[in-house]
Amino acid sequence: MGPARVDFIFILILSWGFAKGGNAALAWAFSAGLFMDLISGGPLGPFTISLPAVAFLASFIYEHISPSNPFSSLPIALLLFILYDLFKVAILSFIGYNFIKAESIALITLPSALLNAVIAVPACLLLSRLYRRGEV
């Protein structure tokens, strides 16, 4: 319940978006998000919509930028996590949960973004290797 939290689903969806991409990644992101929303106890929508957006952006970024250095996923993951949380805040506001202030984003999003981005680097590498090994 502390401010910085590891979001394993985000890391998994991001890594898959980087490694494999495609519509399958979007479908899995949507399913995972729906499941998270339904069992978490929170309102329905934040994860169902944000996770496919992350998967799509990850896939889009790697399709167009094609970075050669694996560590370039660090700033991308950082940016995507911030966008992911902003999406969640926007969707929560859309649902009618208007209690989130700017300080929430500073307190929760920024430390979590850093933590998840650091974990995302080896996760992306590992998943992309596993995927490629499976492909060969």
């Binding site: 980087f18 069992i39 929560l92």
Partner: protein, 283 residues
Amino acid sequence: MSTIKSFPGSGGAKKASWRFFLLLITLGFLLSMLYKAGLLNSAQNFILTIASPIQYGLSFATSSFRQIVDSLAEFRNLRKENERLRKELERLIIENIQLRELEAENRTLRELLHFTQENPIFDYTTARVTARVIGFDPSGFTRYILINAGQKEGIAPGMAVVTERGLVGRVVNVYKNTAKVLLITDPSSSVSAYLQGSQATGMVEGTPDGSLIMRYIPLEAKVSVGEIALTSGLGGTLPKGLVIGQVIEIEKKDYDLFQEVRLKPSVDFDRLELVLVLKEVSH
């Protein structure tokens, strides 16, 4: 170099379709609106009925694993001694609060005795339902927990959820086997309260950092650090006298209409495992 070659940026990722993405987002918003309208309650009820035993198992496993890690990390004797002293301190604090409350209550009851004898009204008894916390909201923006007690156990929206240390929150949604509890630390939570020492009243609201703020305290009230905040019972949903937290900071400005204080919650929300749901039964 092999690392660089194997990185997906070299062209491994497949293209995600814009159309499919938009379809999923539209579907997501549609589901969200249906949820908001309350049309997905039965679907959520069904999923939670299936998922709650799994969540219960995972919660139990996580809790057991954490206990093992804790045991390894600390010296055994030191831990035992610390635990004993902590419990003793908690017991004494709670006993002290209860005694003070009883003293005040006794005074009031003496005054009301005559009235109540002549005007019999319905009374309340408190039943307790012990429930295990089986899920947290992972977003960090909202603060809910799921407990493994629901309609079957007679849980209803509005019921207070507590631990031996104080108020946890209130039930907001009830499903067949589970219930959703809005924690008092959620920014949308608002609890009518009073401070034990100064008897100042106000509203306790959650904050994003997990602490609590008591607002709308009259400026003339003499509040001091260390005072205990308790539920006032106003509003009718929460019973009076549940411990909420302790004053750690006072913010008072001459030009404001009210003063506000920051509270440290009495409940450790990071280690919530078992909670009690207070059922109010009228006779």
